[in-house]
Amino acid sequence: MSTGYYRDGKKTIKMVPYKGEKMDTCATIHNDYVCCNVKVLKSVSNCPFDCSYCFLQNYLTNPDLEVVNDYTQLTQEIIEKVQRQPWRFFRIGTWELGDSLALEDRTGQAAKLIHFFATCPNAILELKTKSDNVAPILHCDHQQRTVVSWSMNTDYIIRTEEHKTASLDHRLAAIHQVVDAGYLVGLHLDPMIYYPEWQADYTSLIQQLAAIVPQNQIAWISIGSLRFNPEQKRLIENNFRGSTLTCQEMITGPDNKMRYVKPIRTQMYTHVFQHIRQAWGPNTLVYLCMERWSMWQAVMDYHPTSIGELDYIFADHFHRYFPHINPQIPNKDLYLAYQDT
């Protein structure tokens, strides 16, 4: 049972050398789903937080909390890869195997990457966090080429399932600071979790966010719901015995992931999507994470036809609304042709 070790590893940071390629496509990409084709930089592995639903419980074979300290080689790899496809507008996140900012006051890694991306012509950085650890990056020269994102959930879910993370109030305060510092902000309402008061709580969450994040500083908003494979269900139940996460009506889909049954997901997504539109209007880029085109259609009355098209939509959105970040007119044909890269 790796469980005990998995938690033990969270306690100490290990600075490790650059080894192997660190930049890749988000691991959840799947042809059955309309995925966004975001790229990930695996510069952090493991996380000091202890969210009950975290897939790292089931994913990490090395339990150590590792941070790559060879910044030069890390950025060299990025340069090589983004230069290979100059037509593409890359979104690159450091959140796949850990939290982008939780350790920033001790590692300074994010600040270095912000400076690098400020001059990177066809790529932006996404730092995604559940922390409020933004002080080290507030004065960076970001040129709006870094999107600071939060994985947001209701106060109830943060208190009961997102252990050791920043409280909702602290996250909101941190978002406010980042907005004031001129950054673009990403909001990830993911994983949405079904519980008796979900409707009122998610409505309230969106209202609180709308009060502090202006539409012209929102890079994107994603919506997704709780999902895990059956092995992880067992780990959640064993590691978090008081949690009621796994007791709702969930079904295993053809991709071996358990999700709330489709009617529940449709209801949840539609509810938050409508409130997002009310809060920020029609020009905010909203997308579903790991859902089929039929779900997009049901929720948004529209769907991208492929992974390549959604990737293009991001590039097009930035070209239209943030031309100083993506001045290049995106070529849809290239996005469609190279969607597997």
Binding site: M1, T3, G4, Y5, R7, R234, E237, N238, R241, T244, T246, C247, Q248, E249, I251, T252, G253, P254, R259, V261, K262, P263, I264, R292, W293, S294
Partner: protein
């Protein structure tokens, strides 16, 4: 040296952990016919003589009314726990439940080396987990042993509530659970208890359990009926949507087989018709052009 002892002179407390092991009928018949041929192994302390190998021979002899059995006293240079483990390792290795009972019997230290010796995981709250598992009733422990649950699988079923295992197994006489079926039932029951903040008894009543166990049908049929009711209770929305779709499909009255993804995840339907005669093709075409059929199929597609 082989000696003979009266059964009441022999203590069995060092072998209590093995009481889940059912004696083979072959051994029972042999002892009935010839008595205990192979002496049990004992260690002799200043006060008592303890069996360390031969619990089944002892139990059978007692059950069939023998008064004496042969024994050999061992004088091992190792402690009793190590001796018992050395003598029974192959048997202990076959069952996680035996391992845990062995640990308790000898109050075995749960350090990394001991865990490795028993191929058990070594983690912070292992001791607490073992203590919880051993609060299961003897019947539940015997079931888990017989069905060869691994340690991880035991943890999976006891994670929320140990007593519910005993409550469900109380009806094993009616359902004769396999390991997989038991796992499924426990999974549904625990989800429902958590979700509805209710009790096993309430779920059992609501799923028609008391009536099902009284039916004069084979255990597997009873279990199938109960699992169907449990599933409906655990998946009310999914069940409702599927029933609605199935009813619409039935109402079309087509020979065509209309399929959809039962998980409801994949959208769309598949029409499967085997047509061997032009008349059948004509009927099929007419049916598909029928407005009512068309509208019903559209409704089904929209639900998916």
């Amino acid at each position: 040296m082989i000696a003979i002892a009266s059964l009441h002179e022999l203590q069995t407390s060092f072998m209590d952990w093995s009481r889940l092991i059912e004696p083979t009928s072959h051994l029972v018949e042999s002892i009935k016919k010839y008595g205990v041929l192979s002496p049990v192994l004992c260690i002799h302390t200043t006060e008592n003589r303890y069996i360390v190998d031969g619990q089944q021979r002892y139990t059978i002899a007692k059950d069939i009314g023998l008064s004496h059995i042969p024994y050999i006293d061992l004088t091992p240079p190792i402690d009793t726990a190590t001796l018992v483990l050395a003598l029974h390792k192959p048997q202990i290795d076959t069952s996680a439940m035996l391992k845990l009972r062995f640990i308790r019997a000898f109050n075995w230290t749960l350090d990394a080396a001991h865990c490795q010796a028993l191929t058990l995981p070594y983690y912070a709250h292992l001791k607490a987990d073992i203590a919880r598992i051993l609060t299961l009733s003897q019947d539940a422990q015997a079931f888990i042993h017989t069905k060869r649950f691994s340690f991880k699988e035991i943890l999976n079923i006891i994670h929320y509530n140990v007593s519910v295992i005993d409550e469900v197994l109380y009806y094993n006489w009616a359902f004769n659970f396999t390991k997989t079926q038991f796992d499924t039932v426990i999974s549904y029951i625990i989800a429902l208890i958590k979700r509805n903040k209710t009790s096993f008894k309430s779920i059992f009543d609501q799923t028609n359990g008391p009536t099902i166990i009284e039916t004069d049908t084979p255990p597997q049929y009873r279990l199938k009926c109960w699992l169907t009711r449990l599933r409906e209770m655990a998946f009310p929305i999914h069940t409702q949507v599927r029933s609605d779709i199935d009813a619409r499909i039935a109402a079309i009255h087509m020979d065509t087989h209309i399929q959809y993804d039962p998980s409801l995840e994949k959208s769309g339907i598949t029409l499967n018709a085997h047509i061997t005669h032009p008349d059948q093709l004509r009927q099929f075409t007419q049916k598909m052009c029928d407005n009512t059929v068309h509208d019903t199929l559209c409704e089904i597609i929209n639900r998916l």
